[in-house]
């Protein structure tokens, strides 16, 4: 019943070509591969056999990262049955009616309960921290988890609006305000890479 949606993911090359922006490579495919292995390893170290753990990818851009981590955990660290959910935070955002654009929701699948679980929130870029605040409220409406941790691929330091810091971090970036960090995934953008783009 759904109509054709415009993809939520940004086609990076289209973006750059059409807006004449300059881009700088922050992380190559090989860098990303190493970081994913490290993050998966850190998760394994903290969560053991993952029986009480639930990975929660934030829609739209955190889900791909969560899927990659799940793949690495299952295939390389041989952890079976890791639970992964997708959380959409649209209705919990604090910029509704303030951002000048309509916020459209993505799919939300939280079929695994959160009660007494150890939750790892997964998102690609941590910037102001407002998405994570919204995610914390959203998780709340499913029950009371035992703990919530935060995993980010990129941490944009010194740009936080809220006291939120990652527990697991792939790479730290000191980007200025008119720069944008774009994470590309092979599945959506034909390559694995992270770019710093001048707006």
């Amino acid at each position: 019943m759904k109509s054709e949606k415009t993809p939520k993911t940004i086609n990076f090359f289209y973006f750059c070509k059409n807006y004449g922006m300059s881009k700088k490579l922050l992380l190559s495919a090989e860098d990303l591969r190493i970081i994913l292995f490290r993050l998966a390893c850190q998760l394994k170290e903290t969560h053991g056999n993952f029986t009480q753990t639930l990975l929660v990818g934030l829609q739209p851009r955190g889900v791909r990262l969560a899927e990659r981590l799940l793949h690495t955990l299952t295939n390389h660290y041989e952890v079976p049955n890791v639970q992964l959910s997708k959380l959409d935070i649209t209705f919990f955002r604090d910029d509704f009616r303030r951002s000048g654009k309509v916020l459209n929701a993505s799919d939300n699948s939280m079929e695994f309960g959160v009660e007494n679980k150890r939750i790892v929130l997964i998102d690609d870029v941590l910037y102001t921290g407002r998405s994570i605040r919204a995610a914390l409220t959203a998780i709340d409406s499913y029950g009371r988890p035992a703990e919530i941790q935060l995993l980010n691929l990129i941490d944009r330091r010194f740009s936080r609006h809220l006291p939120i810091q990652p527990d697991f971090c792939g790479h730290q970036v000191d980007a200025i305000q008119n720069e944008r960090v774009v994470v590309c995934w092979k599945e959506d953008d034909n390559e694995d890479a992270v770019y710093l783009v001048n707006k």
């Binding site: 019943m1 209705f91 919990f92 509704f96 916020l103 939300n108 499913y142």
Partner: protein, 307 residues
């Protein structure tokens, strides 16, 4: 990012297909929300909504109020029976008085066709039409088509018959617009006394034999006989109406395919639908009610975003 093309929801006539599909997509997300242990999201926490019901309503009012509360909006309710309308205040004055208490949106039901459009022109608030006379009832049509799409996968290409009192029905008119915009074929069926004169100009076909209509359709949306709107006798008796237009289980069992039965409520059991049909698996009447809250949440959310 997509948004609605309209600022008010006055009727399905003013929406385009993309608007309806956007409402459906958003409603699907909200349906998931209202099935969570905590069924509330903070999206409309800074919005105040007035529900102005100048005409009686139970489920539409409850459904709207629940949708508003699930979105964390502040709600005030107004029932015409207990108001200053009886003292002679005009509609615009009543609404402007309410708006000066800093109200952002108005959900209104009124017995006069065009009341919502009139208000939208004259006051500064987002207006949602919750039924205006025999004109339109847009959220009902949205939840009906949403329920069809949910049960059958899509509305496009489906054959839908609307059975009953077409003449007095705002649900029929809104449904015709919504179904046609989504690509369904629409037939109307009922006694010729309850059929509007120029109904075929809307692109629908008319059938007076209910058996033939049921054989043709995938979905039958059965309307209530609106005794309260009938100033004259349109048919001899309830029993005669039930005998000619009432749908019974043996009738449904005799059809080649299993059709879907819908009803906007309140049902006159034993008149338009037999009790057996109402309680059967073919009827999606209670799904319609559940979807009503999700669809109204979507409408409120998307209109609030237009500010």
């Amino acid at each position: 990012m997509s948004e609605l093309s309209v600022r008010h929801l006055l009727g399905i006539k003013y929406l385009n297909e993309a608007d309806i599909r956007l409402i459906f997509e958003t409603a699907t997300q909200f349906k998931e929300v209202i099935n969570r242990p905590i069924k509330k999201v903070p999206s409309l926490r800074d919005i105040t909504i007035a529900n102005l019901f100048f005409e009686n309503s139970t489920r539409t009012k409850l459904s709207f109020e629940l949708a508003q509360k699930r979105l964390s909006a502040d709600v005030i309710n107004f029932a015409a029976s207990m108001s200053s309308l009886k003292k002679g205040e005009t509609l615009i004055d009543t609404v402007n008085n309410i708006l000066s208490m800093k109200v952002d949106m108005v959900v209104m039901r009124h017995s006069s066709a065009g009341a919502a459009s009139f208000l939208a022109e004259h006051v500064d608030a987002t207006i949602i039409n919750a039924g205006d006379g025999a004109h339109e009832h847009p959220t009902q049509a949205l939840l009906d088509t949403f329920s069809i799409a949910e049960r059958l996968g899509d509305v496009a290409g489906k054959k839908v018959v609307i059975i009953g009192d077409i003449l007095h029905s705002r649900v029929a008119l809104s449904n015709i617009f919504a179904l046609q915009k989504l690509g369904a074929q629409v037939k109307v069926c009922g006694p010729s006394t309850l059929m509007p004169k120029h109904i075929t100009s809307l692109g629908v076909t008319v059938e007076t034999d209910v058996k033939k209509a049921l054989e043709w359709c995938d979905v039958a949306n059965v309307l209530r006989v609106q005794f309260e709107r009938m100033s004259a006798s349109y048919f001899p008796s309830n029993r005669e109406y039930a005998a000619f237009y009432g749908i019974t289980k043996p009738m449904l069992d005799s059809l080649e395919k299993e059709i879907v039965i819908m009803h906007p409520g309140p049902i006159n059991r034993g008149v338009e639908l037999s009790s057996e049909v109402v309680d059967s698996d073919q009827a999606i009447i209670l799904n319609q009610v559940e979807n009503g809250v999700a669809v109204r949440m979507a409408v409120l959310y998307l209109l609030a975003a237009k500010k």
